[in-house]
């Protein structure tokens, strides 16, 4: 009997554990009769482009990669689909953190100050935070405050938390007046000891946004997508065989995908000139 042709899934290798994760999913799906194999990309830009060259049926996309894929599809008269998301990918928030004893009490106090951000392509630590300061604080970067970016691994869309950690360290060192990080990292940095317990104060909180999504490439067989989603949604945390894989990927359960949690990022990508409306990269100084 010949082996069924596997559907290919693209993922970005932002850390070594990515191999373990997708090997785990490959065998979980294979045991249930769904042939999947994966291709690792070093960056989200090439991965999204591959979705339009017929190379991969699915892409485990960052929110920014989703925005680009969506724009590229629309420009071509096609559509991509947000198939499934992790429960930990929905309704996230980033926080702007200052030292507990900082004189900065409101966004207005940031005028003339240096603010720490993550990587140039980080939705949670750069794009959405810049958008927040602009729309909620009326603060324009470079004019009202100075942007200090902590760039780590371009093209990984901030999946590597190193940039956020560097920004947190710079805050403690007094190099910046405030630093942005995803709320979970604020807790994580306290837990690992990077930030002293109670030594920082949350100055601002962004609106809600969604994070990664399993994106279906244009033209993929709908039945195959449905079956893929069904198998992922059936993964049960209570099953001791499945739980380690879910823990590694950082979720309790898969949720049906949605596309309405990317509005803040869409606005940020447009206004900050990261992608144009056809999904072309227009950001200055973006290397990946």
């Amino acid at each position: 009997m010949s082996q069924p042709q596997p559907l290919l899934l693209g993922a970005v290798a932002y850390a070594p554990k990515v191999v373990t994760i997708w090997e785990g999913f490959k065998s979980y799906l294979g045991e249930r009769g769904f042939a999947m194999d994966y291709i690792l990309y070093s960056n989200y830009e090439t991965q999204v482009e591959a979705q339009f060259e017929g190379d991969i049926a699915f892409a485990w996309n960052s929110p920014l990669a989703w925005v680009r894929a969506d724009r590229m599809a629309r420009a071509r008269g096609q559509a991509v689909q947000s198939l499934v998301m992790r429960d930990t990918d929905q309704d996230l928030q980033s926080v702007l953190v200052v030292k507990a004893d900082s004189p900065v009490q409101s966004l207005a106090d940031l005028k003339g100050k240096v603010v720490g951000f993550g990587a140039i392509d980080s939705p949670q630590a750069t794009l959405i935070p810049l958008d927040h300061l602009q729309h909620e604080g009326g603060l324009a970067p470079g004019k009202d405050y100075e942007v200090r970016r902590f760039d780590v691994l371009g093209g990984k869309h901030g999946d590597h938390i190193g940039g956020e950690r560097d920004a947190a360290v710079a805050l403690l060192a007094g190099e910046v007046a405030a630093s942005w990080m995803i709320a979970g990292n604020h807790r994580a940095f306290a837990k690992e000891g990077t930030l002293p317990a109670g030594g920082t104060r949350v100055l601002a909180t962004t609106g809600l946004y969604d994070h990664c999504t399993m994106t279906v490439s244009p033209g993929v067989d709908a039945e195959a997508s449905r079956r893929f989603a069904e198998l992922l949604l059936a993964m049960d945390w209570n099953d001791a065989q499945v739980r380690p894989l879910l823990e590694l990927e950082g979720l309790r359960q898969w949720r049906p995908g949605r596309a309405n949690g990317f509005r803040l990022l869409e606005r940020a990508a447009t206004e900050q000139g990261f992608y144009d409306d056809r999904g072309n990269i227009v950001a200055d100084g973006y290397r990946y």
């Binding site: 429960d87 996230l92 604020h186 807790r187 920082t200 949350v202």
Partner: protein
């Protein structure tokens, strides 16, 4: 933290404590006290606590809703993730070995390194512990023997007077050196045999693990003090024979815990206790006599542990007696071609018993060694009787025991 009991939901106020400073602990404990589906009202006043709470709830799989648009108070409902993690967790007996069902007949590989009595999450890795059945290893008084061993530990620095001056003749010192050399070799075997099994015993049987571990430590101390005693006389260790090592190697080669314990502890160390008593009585200097006395006390405990395990196992498995007898016979046959006890050791013992090379003293020393041999054989015979061997069989097996003593 304040907790309010009214008709409205249970409520906690995390006050100004942030989730970067442990606020999750308050929410976690409050949630644990609620029944399934019961909401917990959470309020706080640390800046940004709402986003922090939302993040923590998401990571934990707890449901979160806000009472109003101002996000002044949250309602958290416990998710099923925590319960799910422990749903199929294994029960692993009890910590107190005397409690019913405490020490289970079979220990699961996936209980791994967990404390006995802990709940072990399903999906924990399976550890390869070869000795995972109670009957293979257990001794009812292992905990007591361990406790005795702990309180009987002695520090060679303070328990022994290393400054003592030796006044005996050089040939007697040479004899001491030979006997100590022989004893180090034997104690290396007595250390390694339990140490090898120690790594194979499932930690569920922790009393046995502890008793063997301290036995290993005892032997390490003996090896150290015997070596220091050799050096105190100003020399190097003396002779090691092929026959002696062949005899000891057969102990290390024995794969069965009970059989190895029988050969090593019941027969070997039991015999060794007689030898140490001999040295405690006849060694020429107080240092050697004291070393022998202290080591004999330790060895007696090792014999007791071996006896206790065998008595336990023989109760449920009388057929083991036949295998024990067979092991003695096989060992005897395989060692038949070797010299057995190092002649130098035998002669050294005579000289120690004599105290000098004067003919009358040597006669007395020889008689003392003959007496030692009789005591060794009697001791083995008595222990074999206690293990349920018939008199004739016990006599025969005692006689077949290695001439190397251990």
């Amino acid at each position: 933290m304040t907790t309010a009991e009214t008709s409205s939901p249970t409520a906690i106020d995390i006050e100004s404590l942030g989730f970067d400073a442990g606020a999750h602990l308050l929410v976690k404990h409050a949630l644990a006290a609620l029944s399934d589906g019961e909401p917990l009202r959470v309020t706080g006043r640390s800046p940004g606590w709402q986003a922090q709470l939302a993040d923590w709830c998401r990571a934990q799989g707890h449901a979160l809703a806000w009472e109003d648009d101002a996000h002044g108070a949250a309602r958290v409902t416990r998710g099923s993730a925590e319960a799910g993690r422990w749903r199929d967790a294994a029960r692993t007996g009890h910590a107190d070995p005397r409690a019913p069902g405490a020490v289970l007949p079979q220990a699961d590989p996936a209980w791994g390194l967990a404390a006995r009595g802990a709940r072990v999450e399903a999906g924990s890795p399976a550890f390869a512990f070869r000795l995972d059945r109670r009957e293979e290893v257990w001794a009812d008084n292992a905990a007591e023997l361990y406790a005795q061993a702990v309180s009987a530990q002695w520090d060679p620095e303070t328990a022994l007077d290393w400054d003592v001056e030796f006044t005996h003749p050089p040939e007697v010192e040479a004899a001491i050196r030979q006997v100590m050399t022989y004893m180090v070799e034997n104690e290396n075997a007595a250390l390694l045999v339990p140490a090898r099994f120690l790594g194979q015993i499932h930690p569920h049987y922790r009393e046995l693990q502890a008793a063997l571990a301290i036995q290993v430590a005892d032997e390490a101390r003996h090896i150290d003090v015997f070596t220091r005693r050799i050096r105190a006389g100003g020399g190097e260790p003396a002779l090691s024979t092929a026959g002696g090592q062949a005899s000891l190697k057969s102990l290390l080669d024995e794969p069965d815990f009970s059989v190895a314990g029988f050969l090593l502890s019941v027969l070997g160390e039991g015999t060794f206790v007689n030898l140490l008593h001999f040295l405690a009585a006849h060694a020429p200097d107080p240092l050697t006599r004291q070393i022998a006395k202290l080591a004999a006390r330790d060895e007696a405990r090792h014999v007791a542990l071996g006896m206790s395990h065998l008595l336990h196992r023989l109760q449920g498995e009388p057929a083991l007696r036949g295998r024990l007898a067979q092991a003695v016979e096989q060992r005897h046959d395989s060692l038949a071609g070797t010299a057995g006890l190092n002649e130098e050791v035998f002669d050294a013992l005579i000289l120690i018993g004599a105290g000098s090379l004067a003919p009358e003293a040597v006669r007395q020393g020889f008689e003392r060694v003959q007496q030692l041999m009789r005591e060794m054989a009697d001791g083995r015979f008595t222990r074999l009787l206690r293990l349920g061997f018939a008199r004739g069989e016990a006599e025969r097996l005692s006689a077949l025991h290695t001439r190397n003593f251990m």
